[in-house]
């Protein structure tokens, strides 16, 4: 599908919060509707946007299932609820008397592309947290394990696995750029990472472009929320591990989690919902934070950190524990 061809899209919501759609509405310049059009995407049906309700929507689903209507891209938002006891009854698609998981299986079987929008649809996400009371999973993953609703061998008719546009919520650009690339026939297997996430946003770390980087360099750390310092040592930040371009692309204008004053919780990763410790406190062993950058020998990191801490300029030390700049950058004294 390239050149002038257009791609149609069906969007379904199941065991999630609808937040990925709400995030999508924040698409910036051009606005969502204009951008769908300029990206060559036609909505067959979206639960928040389309006029067609009830009978019309059900007719459309039937037409797709039976092959009367072509389906290019199936977007699923929210986890797939297999419970109770494998029946899928925790989400029956209204008006159909059938579990949503049955609809998704059948529609995924005829879709040219299948896209998991957000970490719930990708891996199970927050809905799979705690005791996972609804037996929630992702389209093709159950947490970090391949499988999920569709099974690890599933391929859409274009030959791709379910594409995991993970994030909680996911960024509007991550979704729209993925769909745009699909519409142009420019997204292949090599463009996905080992969790089937589009590499165009997971080749970077949330750490990249974080405005707290100078504090990170010296391990000048925030102790309390609203401190300006680095959030890694004490406040749970996983930005040096989290694969996402949040601080390069930014959210809602100039935002991101770390810009907002709180930790990155690695929401693009499977099982982020169960970190095994308090989200906003960094677990430590013998005073050393767990979860250091994954691609660096630990001993080196600790040696560098100790050196950097010892060399921390007073300005950075003071500002790290304040909520606004209290020590200004100096300049070299004028030559006499």
């Amino acid at each position: 599908m390239s050149g002038g061809a257009r791609m149609n899209l069906l969007w379904l919501q199941s065991g999630g919060c609808g937040g990925c759609t709400m995030s999508l509405l924040c698409a910036d310049t051009p606005d969502l509707l204009t951008r769908l059009d300029t990206s060559g995407i036609d909505l067959l049906w979206h639960p928040s946007l389309s006029e067609a309700g009830m009978d019309e929507a059900l007719r459309l689903l039937e037409d797709i299932r039976s092959g009367r209507q072509r389906l290019d891209a199936l977007c699923v938002e929210g986890s797939l609820l297999r419970g109770p006891h494998g029946t899928g009854r925790f989400h029956m698609l209204a008006g159909t008397g059938r579990p949503m998981i049955e609809w998704v299986r059948e529609l995924a079987a005829v879709a040219r592309y299948c896209v998991a929008v957000g970490s719930c649809a990708a891996f199970g996400g927050v809905t799979a947290g705690g005791s996972n009371p609804t037996d929630a999973c992702g389209l093709q993953y159950d947490g970090r394990y391949p499988g999920g609703l569709l099974g690890k061998d599933y391929r859409s008719s274009a030959g791709l696995p379910a594409i995991n546009v993970a994030g909680c919520p996911t960024h509007p650009d991550w979704v729209l750029d993925t769909l745009h690339l699909l519409a142009r026939g420019e997204l292949g297997a090599d463009d996905l990472d080992d969790l089937a996430r589009p590499r165009m946003y997971t080749d970077l770390l949330a750490h990249h472009g974080c405005p707290r980087n100078e504090f990170y360099e010296y391990k000048a750390s925030a102790i309390e929320p609203s401190d300006l310092g680095c959030l890694m040592e004490h406040l749970g930040c996983m930005g040096t591990q989290a694969q996402a371009d949040c601080n390069v692309r930014t959210w809602n204008g100039e935002g991101s989690c770390t810009r907002g004053g709180y930790a990155c919780i690695n929401c693009t990763a499977p099982e982020f919902e169960e970190p095994g410790h308090a989200f906003l406190r960094t677990p430590t062993v013998a005073g050393i934070p767990l979860g250091l950058p994954t691609d660096m020998p630990k001993a080196w990191f600790i040696a560098l950190s100790s050196l950097a801490k010892a060399a921390t300029p007073q300005r950075i030390k003071e500002n790290a524990r304040a909520d606004h700049v209290v020590a200004r950058p100096g300049r070299k004294p004028d030559r006499k």
Partner: protein, 483 residues
């Protein structure tokens, strides 16, 4: 008489099914089913209390900040946190921005497109409404989305992102605002005021909030003829379609009150409106009935209630519990808030025609104007350099209640901490009230009451479209409802 099943409803947040008994051209009885259950109250058991701030917003993508506010209030209540004035202002701004944008998202994207449908093609106003409000293709949606996106830059700055921020904490907000940023916030809010004054109202906000009676509203609308704003467009078609005759429930309303002003009083008051007058709210009078829900157990107040699914429960037809105030079903939302707060326009409209499709929408837009004016005041009151957050020390054993107002109405979180872990967490969301099922006494929830008597295929409202107006007039949020 035939039982009809209608659903899925689109342009409601989440999935919804309604069963109708139809006889003689109108709805005789309705049963509202929330067909999705996720189990947040089960997921939260045993968690570290502060982690509720990660989970709670994810109950709902459209009122995520309201869920955060309720969780932070419950934790703050448990830990006896003190919030500095800047923290209160920043929280109010983030919360108000969400509620304001939810009202307008409802109006432009969810509610108005129904009037552009072919069922109304013969109406004299249809061509104009079709051009402006048709789903996806009308002129209003992209215009609104642009204004919305620009306005949500406030969230990027104050909350990091929307939805699902961790900026709201017991004791304040994590993001201090500099002098430069305060100016920027003022510009963002000011720009959205322009959208309201040019497109939504085609009138100054001061003029809108000063409307004090049904007559005043009608005169104002008449004076808008020629170049009407979107509110006047709605009022004109509302009159033509008799929307004030659709969707009346029991006219019992509740508000927990919203937004803390510097003096500690809420911007919008707390209370109950019933039998034509205002009463104080006794929060201890709230209990959740589960007689018609796929839930185990008996009626219990949220402080001690449990959430345990029982898909085989006899007589049950929804995952939604049935909260009641002293045994009575109540309606919540912008209409309830403005009525309890005593806004003269809303008081007069309810006195004349009660709560209905028209008054719910008018209350939402009036409230939008009031919220924006408050946001400008709060932005000006921020003091850069002063603290935005006071740390609160966690307690190993404590209880807390967090009450606030989401766009759709009253939201409460009840939390009990034992041994440093969450022992119980109960959430009662706005649409849980509005879309609750029958209780043990057979009393239907607010929407079930409101649907009774709705025409299903009249010349004025063909093909069950009136049912859709009534349902959407509550601005339902189904993911919140059963959570």
């Amino acid at each position: 008489m035939a039982r009809q099943i209608v659903g899925p409803f689109n342009r409601v947040e989440g999935d919804l099914e309604v069963q109708l008994d139809v006889g003689d051209g109108q709805v005789d009885a309705a049963w509202v089913n929330s067909p999705l259950y996720r189990g947040f109250e089960q997921i939260l058991l045993g968690k570290i209390p502060g982690d509720a701030l990660v989970y709670a917003p994810r109950v709902c993508g459209i009122c995520s900040v309201s869920q955060s506010v309720a969780a932070a209030f419950a934790l703050g209540d448990a830990y006896r946190a003190e919030t500095p004035p800047n923290g209160i202002l920043a929280l109010d701004l983030i919360h108000a921005a969400e509620n304001l944008i939810d009202h307008l998202t409802h109006f432009y994207l969810f509610f108005m497109p129904d009037f552009a449908r072919p069922e109304y093609a013969a109406q004299p106003w249809h061509a104009d409404i079709h051009a402006r409000f048709r789903a996806v293709e009308g002129s209003a949606a992209p215009e609104f989305l642009q204004a919305r996106t620009a306005f949500m830059h406030l969230m990027g700055l104050l909350a990091g992102k929307w939805p699902h921020s961790l900026a709201i904490q017991p004791g304040g907000c994590t993001r201090a605002v500099s002098a430069r940023e305060r100016l920027h916030l003022g510009n963002v809010v000011g720009a959205f005021r322009r959208f309201l004054e040019q497109r939504v109202f085609a009138a100054p906000l001061d003029e809108i909030v000063a409307l004090d009676s049904r007559d005043a509203l009608q005169h104002w609308q008449a004076a808008q003829a020629g170049q009407p704003g979107d509110l006047a467009r709605f009022l004109a078609l509302g009159e033509a379609l008799g929307l004030h005759t659709l969707g009346r429930a029991a006219d019992r309303f509740m508000s927990f009150g919203a937004y803390r002003e510097a003096d500690g009083a809420p911007l919008f008051a707390r209370g109950v409106w019933r039998d034509g007058s205002l009463h104080s709210l006794d929060v201890d009078g709230i209990a959740e009935d589960v007689s018609h829900s796929w839930m185990a157990g008996d009626t219990a107040p949220p402080r001690t209630a449990r959430t345990l699914p029982d898909p085989g429960r006899e007589g049950a037809y929804t995952w939604c519990k049935a909260p009641r105030l002293h045994g009575k079903a109540v309606e919540v939302g912008a209409l309830a808030r403005q009525l309890v707060d005593g806004h003269p326009l809303i008081c007069d409209l309810v006195a004349a025609t009660g709560g209905n499709v028209l008054t719910r929408v008018v209350a939402r837009l009036l409230e939008s104007a009031r919220i924006l004016l408050a946001m400008q005041r709060w932005t000006d009151a921020l003091v850069p350099g002063e603290p935005f957050h006071n740390p609160a020390a966690p307690l190993a054993d404590a209880e807390g209640i967090g009450l606030t107002e989401a766009a759709r109405g009253s939201l409460g979180h009840w939390l009990r901490i034992e041994g440093g872990r969450i022992r119980n967490y109960q959430i009662v969301s706005p649409t849980t009230w509005n879309f609750s099922p029958r209780d043990a006494a057979g009393q239907p929830g607010a929407l079930e009451q409101a649907l009774t008597g709705t025409p299903v295929d009249s010349p004025r409202h063909p093909r069950k479209i009136a049912v859709q107006h009534v349902v959407r007039s509550f601005d339902p949020c189904m993911v919140c409802t059963a959570h």
